[in-house]
Point group: C2
DNA sequence: CGCGGTCTGTACGGCAGCGCTCATAGCGGC
DNA sequence: GCCGCTATGAGCGCTGCCGTACAGACCGCG
């Protein structure tokens, strides 16, 4: 989990707050270290805390009645966990799984609700983030339906790179297969292909992105499309 | 589009409004008839009106950069179109397509925003509806990924029945294939199978559900799971 | 240094769904 | 009553992925 860690110790959503409000907000937060693989909440769980990842990132996984699971989103320092509170619902719609260990800001649900009252622009910003989540969820659904494993894997690696703030991170193929909802063998062959093209290297759970540009060409355009959605909706309100 | 039309001329979300507020709200609405196949808005379009279907229903379709399309949700008299306005975003995330012709309430975006100010409980309710949309979107993504065409078709027919308020409705296999993101031939064989089991009849674009119970057994559990999500989140606030 | 656990590479049969194409059957219009 | 259009049914070869299984490679630990 090294690489070139541009020191982005903050969360992008919070950048809408003017400095003094921001300090006040941060005072209500607790800095925590999230451990890889930790389950922050199960679907249906009461939401007791919200999280603003700074260096860590979290997978949103949906669960079907028959036990099938699929990752439907990733939350890094561009997003937050616990958006349902904004919608007046105190229950998590997804399973939240720490996928990249690291720092995050943690805040109690009650403090969060208070902060929303105090800072209307923050509420606005977070509402817009929900809109982005909704759009990206739909895009991801279609991507999962239509695109080949290799393209989806490439996209996924790019998403992870952006949130890990580095070109190297630790992930087993087993885990990747789980996230993309495919067989491990499928990941092996897709990863081999990307490796042969010189785009990544892969050694026992440590992935390194060698050629980000090339990886974008190997991925489906869903990667760019998702980024575009984010920037169009939230970009103009942030520094 | 006949069947046994239980006369549900209203929209379930609006049932949170007390009678007088409700009359006031309805006064700002225009009753319209939506035509089959009409495109209400394209992704990215500015939202000028919101819609509360009463007898009609609308498909939400997501579009990828490479042109691929997939239906990700259906809005009938249990929902609304234009939720993004609640999130402070004046752009539609999806393509909205009239899938069942019929009546709907239409309201201008500005009048809608005013109404939200006047009726906080309505805003609350609609926020909760967004939560349901989010949950169902994720479920649908996983369903699309894992389940066979036949089960997905059965689920889709049940969703449509609930929104068409009757066991008979008009739909070509071509259209169904488009919605589920599969070949028409795939629909043909799945529909034949359901037909042979005596669950539906299918004659030139007119589908009749003969055995709803059986169809539920043929469908994936996603149908029930979606209904459960809706009831748990919104049910207790409605009559 | 050997051993068990973990991770990755590979192979094989099977199948759901794909793209494509053509045949058949209703239906409405003239 | 004929014609053209539209909707459905069906066939064929292909392929991406599945389920499963097994072998090699690398790691840490005793």
């Amino acid at each position: 989990m090294t690489g070139s860690p541009r020191v982005t110790l903050s969360n992008r959503l919070l950048s809408v707050l003017p400095p003094q409000s921001r300090r006040r907000f941060l005072a209500d937060c607790e800095g925590v270290e999230l451990e890889f693989g930790a389950v922050i909440c199960q679907p249906g769980d009461r939401i007791r805390h919200v999280y603003f990842p700074t260096q860590s990132f979290i997978s949103l996984v949906t669960t079907l009645d028959d036990g099938a699971r699929l990752e439907v989103g990733i939350v890094g320092n561009e997003g937050m966990l616990g958006t349902s509170l904004l919608l007046g619902v105190n229950a998590s719609p997804h399973l939240a799984l720490v996928q990249g260990a690291g720092a995050a800001l943690k805040m109690s649900a009650t403090a969060f609700m208070d902060a929303l009252e105090r800072h209307p622009p923050l509420r606005q910003q977070l509402n817009r983030y929900i809109h982005v989540l909704l759009s990206q969820l739909a895009q991801t659904a279609a991507c999962t339906r239509y695109h080949l494993i290799e393209a989806r894997l490439a996209r996924w690696l790019l998403l992870t790179r952006d949130r890990a703030h580095g070109d190297r991170f630790n992930l087993t193929q087993e885990f990747l297969a789980y996230m993309l909802g495919v067989r491990r063998a499928g990941i092996t062959s897709a990863a081999s292909e990307l490796h042969e093209r010189g785009l990544i290297s892969y050694v026992r759970g440590e992935i390194t992105i060698l050629d980000g540009e090339g990886l974008q060409r190997a991925s489906c355009r869903c990667y760019q499309q998702g980024n575009r959605t984010y920037e169009q909706t939230l970009g103009k309100h942030m520094r």
